[in-house]
Amino acid sequence: MATRTLIEAIREGLRDEMRRDPSTIVLGEDVGVKGGVFLATDGLYDEFGEERVIDTPLTESMIVGVSIGASANGLRPIAEIQFADFIFPAFNQLVSEAARMRYRSNGAFGCPITVRAPYGGGVHGALYHSQSVEAFFTHVPGLKVVIPSTPYDAKGLLRSAIRDYDPVLFFEHKKMYRSVRGDVPDGEYSVPLGKAAVTRIGAQVTVVAYGLMAHYALEAADRVEDEDISVEVIDVRTLRPLDRTTILDSVRKTGKCLVVYEANKFGGYGAEIAAMVAEEAFDYLDGPVMRVAAPDVPAVPYNHVLEDWFMLDPERIAGAIRDLAAY
C-alpha cells in the first residue's frame, strides 16, 4: 500500500495499462511533452514515445472520431479532453458514433475507447472550466460513465474502463486531483464498472452522491452524527450502467433518500436516481426523495463571491439531511 493523490493514481493507472497492453495509446491536447495541463499523463511521453502518446491539434471532434476509427483497427485509444467543458465539440462523435457503433452494426463493430476529462468547480475556473457535464452522457445508451472519488477507485476503475469493450467516459474532479489522497495497492487490482460503494453505513437517511459530492456527503454525515442522525452514504462511482440494487436496498432500509450532485439541478443526473427511487422504493419511503444540487444558472461564475454562492458545501448538504431526518 502507498498513499497517492487522485492525480497520481490516475497517472499510475494509465502507465500500468500502457505497459500491460501495447495496443493502448494516449492522445489529446498537451498530453505529450507537457504531460497534460494537470500532469495526468506526465512521464508517459518519455516512457512510451510520441507514437503512443500523441500531442494532437486543438480539435476535440477529431480526438474522439479518430479514437473511434483507431479502436476499430486494433488499438485501444485513451483520449484526454483537456476540460470536460470542451467535450461539446465532440458531442456528435460521442453520441452519434461511439455510443452506437456496436448497436447499429448489430454487434459487428465495437468501440473500446476511454475518454478522460477533468470536470467540476471550486477552482476559480468560471463558466468554462468548472462544469459537471455527466447528465449529457448518462442519458445515452451505449456509453458508460464513470466518476471516481478516491485514488483507489480512480486507478481501479480507470483500469476497468481501459479494458472495457465499450466507450467509457471517465470524469475526474479537478479540485480533487491534489487535495484527495488515499491508499493504493502496489500490485495489480481493478474495480469493476457498474458497482456503487456504500462508503458509510447508517440507518435514517441515505445520501447518494459521486465525485467531490461523495466526499462532502461524508463530511455532512459527520456533522449531523452528534445530532443523532444516522446517515448512510452511497458513492455511485459508475453513473451508467447504474447499480440500482445498492441504492434501492439502502433506501428500503432507511426510508429516506437525498441525492446530491454538483451540476445544475434541473434535468441533472440526480433526477434519474430520484425518479428511480420514487418509482421503485415508494412503499418504503418515509419522506420525499430530496435533491441538493447547483442553482440553475449556466455555470460557476468566476468572482469568488459568486463561486462560493454557486458551489455546494458539506453544510448545505447537512442542512438537507436535517430537514429530511426531521420529516
Binding site: 495509446i25 507514437e51 503512443r52 494532437t56 491539434p57 480539435t59 471532434s61 477529431m62 474522439v64 472520431g65 479518430v66 479514437s67 473511434i68 476509427g69 483507431a70 479502436s71 476499430a72 483497427n73 486494433g74 488499438l75 485509444p77 465539440p89 456528435n92 462523435q93 452519434s96 458514433e97 452506437r100 457503433m101 456496436r102 448497436y103 447499429r104 452494426s105 448489430n106 454487434g107 459487428a108 463493430f109 465495437g110 445508451p141 451505449g142 458508460k144 472495457d164 469493450y165 465499450d166 450502467p241
Partner: protein, 353 residues
Amino acid sequence: MTTTASETDGPVGSAGQPGGDRSRLAESLGLTDDDLRLMYRRVALARAIDERMWVLNRAGRVPFVISGQGHEGAQVGIVSNLRPGLDWLVPFYRSVAGVLTFGMSAREIMLAQYAKAPDPSSGGRQMPGHYGGSAHNILSTSSPVGTQILHAVGLALAAKIRRTGQVVVTALGEGASNQGDFHEGMNFAGLHKLPVITVIENNGYAISVPAAKQAPIVDLADRAAGYGMPGLVVDGADVVGCWRAGHEAVERARRGEGPTIIEAKVTRLTAHSSDDQQTKYRTPEELERERLRDPLPCFREQLLEAGVLSSELVERIAAEIAAEVNDATDWAEQQPDPTVDSATRHVYAEDPA
C-alpha cells in the same frame, strides 16, 4: 487488381481469353482486359441493383431508397485499387458500387435494402444504404454526414502505428465536405501522413442545394493544399481516369507518403432519395443533360472501342447481372425479419473475452 470471392468464377474470367491478347488500354494501365471487364461488370451490376431498389420502392415493397446512380464509375475506378481483406473502406449511402467492388455481394446489399435479420450491415436496424460489415473491412456508417471521415483517419492512424500496410478509402458528398469534421480530419491526416484517401463524390447537389450555394470554390480538391496533401480532380464518367487517380493515391499511401483527396465530378441521376422530388429544383433540360455524364454508357463505349468488350459479351454480362439481381432480390425478400428478442442486443459488448 484483386477480385473478390464472389467474382472469381464470374462471367468475366470465362470471358477473357485466358492469358490471351491484351488491349492497348489495358496495357497502358498495367492491367489485363479481364480487369477492365471486371470493372465494367461492377459498374453495370451496381446500376442494376440500384435500379431494382427503386423499382421495389415504387412497387411499395421497400419504404425507402437512397443510392448511387451516376456515382458508380468513380467508386469502381477508385476502390478497385484496394486489397480486399487487408484494406479498409468507409463508405457513405451512395457507395453501392464501392461496397460491391470491395466484396459485398448483391444479396448482402439487398438484405440491407429489405432490412432483414441476416443483413451484415446492421441486421435491419439501420436505413438501407448504411453499409458496413466486419467480414469485408467495411466500417459501419451512420447518417450524420462527415463523421466517417474521422473514423477513416483513425483506421489509418492505427494502420500506421501497427504497421499493417493497410490503406483506407472513405467517401462523402461535396456537401458533407464543408462539415467541420472534414477540416479536422484532413488536418490530422496530412499532419501524420496517414494512408487514407478521401473521395469527395461531387454531384453538384446537397439534396436541393446546388454547389454554388454550398461553397465559394469550384474544385473542392483545391482545399487539399491547405492540408499538405495532393488534391486530384477526376471526371466521374471516366472510369479509367478514376482508376488512375485511385491507383496513384493508393500507391502513394502504400509507400507511406501520406493521404490524398480525390474529387470526382459525378452526376446524381436520381432524386436525392425516394423521399425527394427533384423536379422542384432541377429542370428537365438539366436532367436530360446530366444523362450524358452517366459513367455506364461512357465506359461501355470506351471498352467496346478498345476491343475489350464485344456486344456479345456486353449482352452476356447483362444477362448474368439480371439473373444475379433477381436472385439477390428474391432471396433477400425471403429472409426473416429480425425478432423482437434481438432488439436489446449489442447495446454493450456481450461477452468481453
